[in-house]
Symmetry: C2
Subunit: 551 residues, 2 copies
């Protein structure tokens, strides 16, 4: 078994992940999150929200997963969001065309014509088939379509950002990578609308020394080496094209470290010219190192430029610009024309008033186009009819079409990779010990309460500890079956970081032991202090080796 198989075996057996619809034979691209997988995923989502919404200041919104056709006609998905596909003439199996295939990889049959297959799921809204609906392949379009509402919420000022976590759907032709290529999955995206002339980030100083492992397009085409650079250097050398994008690349790394990634297993790979979307200005993938699949994308960040807003503005006939006031109004001199009353009077007599009126409405440009029509008469415009005058105008600002920076996280892949990175096996006293070394802040079950015996009042004390932890918001388990060693192993395997054991000493002095999953060390604490000690342990505020002094 390779690591992928070991992780998936554990994930299925213990309730992290399993294929959907198993009793009906399953279908590729659909996986369920079981009780532990959902708890793990929920923690990651909670930290994502805390990082981006609470601390980051981007409000979250929620738009439907089903969209009307207009949205994806405008965005280009209806025409372009497709993979090339080929079907085997013999067995009928469909394949995504990745490279030159001649014979069916399943049965050796000959293949049909290559055609494009749109990856959006299509349906009809309401009775009949006249109103087409698509399941969104990204959350982004829901935010672009809401641009006016969001701009107003942010009181008409750039930059602003909005976040969204939700399901997206891609009707893959024949997904073959287990949990890593899903047809329905969860992404967490931020769309940051910026003034394209202001690509410096106000808080760049805070993160400029963050060291990144970068794999720029140039290195991919030459020596294949990654570069270790501070963000500041990467931006100054022009490898990352803008400070604003650079700031958010650093934020992606900080978030990934916060949920337990180690820096050596993350790199940022720049899109090469042949893969970058035609409209995008700069794109990077945060990639994580996996055992079977090598480096895989877990987060993407794109500078989408003005592509999306322009597309929706055009398709919906709504302007999607922002009025950006100048710091102080500027004064501009402009040449204008004014009717020369005397010359007009001389030349047009009875029609003079009408000609004067017509000239008043003309701009300089229009005047120079040559003629006006007064009644049935076409009058050639000659310079003697007007006076040229310089006037001063005060201009308070201008309308700007924002650019969009978009960090986009694949939450399900992050869940899988964290499981794989945490998976560890070791020999302890001649036995194989499997441990998921998940950081305490993301572990699905944060603590397990273990009465040494299920009698003598140990069980009652145990239930009391369980309840006090639940009341304080901890997701805990209670387990009284089997030997204590077996119960420790059971929880090591699912990554429970702390085990609270109720023993006979508990009955004497109201203390319990807390065992640390990784060091297997134990401390004793007062039973009433368990919730607060757990809080500190999970927040990482207490180093376990020192925690022994807490009693």
């Amino acid at each position: 078994m390779d690591k992928y198989e070991k992780v998936i075996e554990l994930a299925k057996r213990r309730g992290f992940l399993w294929p959907s619809f198993e009793i009906y034979g399953s279908t590729a691209g659909f996986w369920d999150f079981g009780p532990l997988g959902t708890a793990l995923k929920r923690r990651i989502k909670e930290i994502w929200i805390d990082f981006h919404v609470i601390r980051g200041g981007f409000y979250e919104i929620e738009t439907p997963t089903m969209c009307i056709e207009d949205v994806f006609v405008a965005s280009g998905h209806v025409n372009n969001f497709a993979d090339l596909m080929v079907e085997c003439k013999k067995c009928g199996e469909a394949f995504k065309v990745d490279s030159a295939m001649e014979k069916c990889p399943e049965c050796g049959g000959s293949l049909g014509e290559v055609c494009a297959f749109n990856l959006m799921f299509k349906t009809s809204i309401g009775p009949g088939s006249k109103r087409i609906g698509y399941l969104r392949p990204e959350t982004a379009q829901g935010m672009f379509v809401d641009f006016h509402r969001l701009l107003r919420f942010y009181r008409d000022r750039l930059p602003f950002g909005v976040a969204q976590i939700g399901k997206v759907y891609r009707n893959e032709i024949s997904p073959r990578q287990g949990t890593l290529r899903l047809r329905e999955f969860t992404i967490a995206e931020v769309e940051i609308f910026i003034d394209p002339r202001k690509t410096e980030h106000p808080n760049f100083e805070d993160v400029k020394n963050v060291v990144l492992q970068l794999y720029p397009a140039k290195e991919q085409l030459s020596d294949g080496k990654t570069l270790k650079l501070s963000l500041k250097d990467a931006v100054e050398k022009g490898i990352i094209k803008q400070q604003f994008v650079g700031y958010h690349i650093a934020q992606i790394q900080l978030f990934l470290l916060e949920i337990g990634f180690s820096q050596e297993k993350i790199r940022f790979r720049q899109h090469k010219n042949d893969e970058i979307a035609h409209y995008a200005i700069d794109c990077w993938d945060a990639e994580a190192l996996t055992d079977r699949f090598g480096w895989i994308e877990i987060v993407g960040i794109a500078n989408r430029g003005d592509y999306d807003l322009k597309a929706h503005a055009k398709h919906s006939q709504n302007e999607m610009t922002v009025f950006v006031p100048y710091d102080k109004p500027i004064t501009r001199e402009r040449m204008v024309i004014k009717p020369n009353m005397r010359a007009i009077g001389r030349k047009f007599k009875d029609n003079a008033a009408k000609v004067t009126e017509a000239l008043r409405t003309l701009s300089l440009d229009q005047f120079e186009e040559g003629t006006i029509r007064v009644g049935d008469e076409v009058i050639p415009l000659t310079k003697d009819l007007v006076k040229y005058e310089l006037v001063s105008e005060e201009i308070s600002g201008e309308r700007v079409l924002p650019h969009v920076i978009e960090p986009s996280y694949g939450i399900d892949r992050i869940v899988y990779v964290l499981l794989e990175h945490s998976f560890d096996e070791e020999e302890v006293e001649g036995e194989r010990r499997v441990v998921l070394r998940l950081p305490p802040n993301i572990a699905p079950i944060q603590g397990v309460v273990l009465p040494l015996l299920s009698r003598d009042g140990l069980d009652k004390k145990g239930r009391w500890v369980e309840r006090s932890l639940r009341k304080n918001g901890f997701l805990v388990d209670y387990d009284e079956s089997g030997t204590i060693g077996r119960r420790y192993r059971r929880h090591d395997e699912i990554g429970t970081p702390f085990a609270i054991t109720i023993d006979h000493q508990t009955l004497d002095d109201d203390t319990v032991t807390i065992r640390d999953r990784d060091s297997m060390k134990q401390i004793r604490v007062l039973i009433g202090d368990v919730p607060s000690v757990m809080g500190e342990l999970i927040a990482g505020g207490v180093i376990f080796e020192k925690a022994g002094t807490l009693i």
Copy 2:
């Protein structure tokens, strides 16, 4: 404007809710949650999880919103999940048939034939149309399909429950109730699998005195009065048919009170015989009182019996029972037959061995059916061929098909109703003051930081307070534009419970004021204490009138 209109006007203008796809003309049944609506909805979901998963002990799972056809063929949705529909022959408009309609309500045209319209959105999975997918109209089926995995996770013991929050979809024919009738919405469900012979709830004592406003089927058909009863009385009188269902009705009420409902605006209405699903044993709706729509369902609770597991067992050919061991094995005496060798020898001679062998495999029932075939010969079974013997058997337990209790919460309706119930208008100093009296634990923005001036260092102190609150997990806003009175009003209107004002005294003694939205009273606290005081205020641990002593 009635209250619905007032609430929706506020919701749209301030960023709680607005119709989806507005720039493309919108489509009935789809609404976006804006920044404040999403924050409000997130808090309700968080409290729901805390209540049911953390404190309640039901693990959460996540199954796909898109399901393969088998799932809904088995559940009956493909055949039965439909509304009656009629189309206008003149204008083509489609209508749900609610009552006797003769002419089109839109144009007065004549109507076509009534037909059934299935309310599931249908699509195809992968290329071609051979694999049908449906968007789920409830999360429940995902849990039933996972029954074996879940049972194993819970170590083969009943009762157990699993929770799920997620999107569901109903392709309404022509939804006409704004945010209250959506085609895509969020529900939060628990499926509790119980032993049908054990309908008493182990923690019934904890909630037996909870007083409920009940509207039983009988009262709906007679005097139309609701009954105020303790849970205990309601169960004893047989109005609520089982303790287990009663326990969860009380839990629903406790949850609704926790997120801010007042008890007078909640009632539990029992399904009448003509509306209850044919398989269900007892069904109740928790209804909330609204201004325009009267009592509307916000939560349902159903005892689904064994309908779903039986249906999936049949369709998938998988047994879906639980082996329930007896407390101690029981011994049962059973009559068996044994071949009477001597009689057989006499009667069948050469064939005696074969007849003996055939008789050994027969049960008593089979023996009494009458004949056996030995070779080509049919032998009538007569009593003299066997001896009857009583044997003792030890039986350790039996297989049980669980029943399912399902509380199901409509999260989007709860959001709307809480907005409506919180909406308040009053005259203050001759001005109209609109206040959303949302409880602090669900208010989208928990506090707003207001520097009296945007200079003199007040802004810097303000930003410091904002950051310290965000670091501590509070969703706060910072607002320095306009008069302080106008800023208070702006936040009263969106329900921000606390306003932290930085004034000149802050520069002298590092204190700030905290203003309570509802009483408009203020207290002064040390700037460094703001996060902890906010925590206590939001948790409701400090009555504001007494909080003045905190300084």
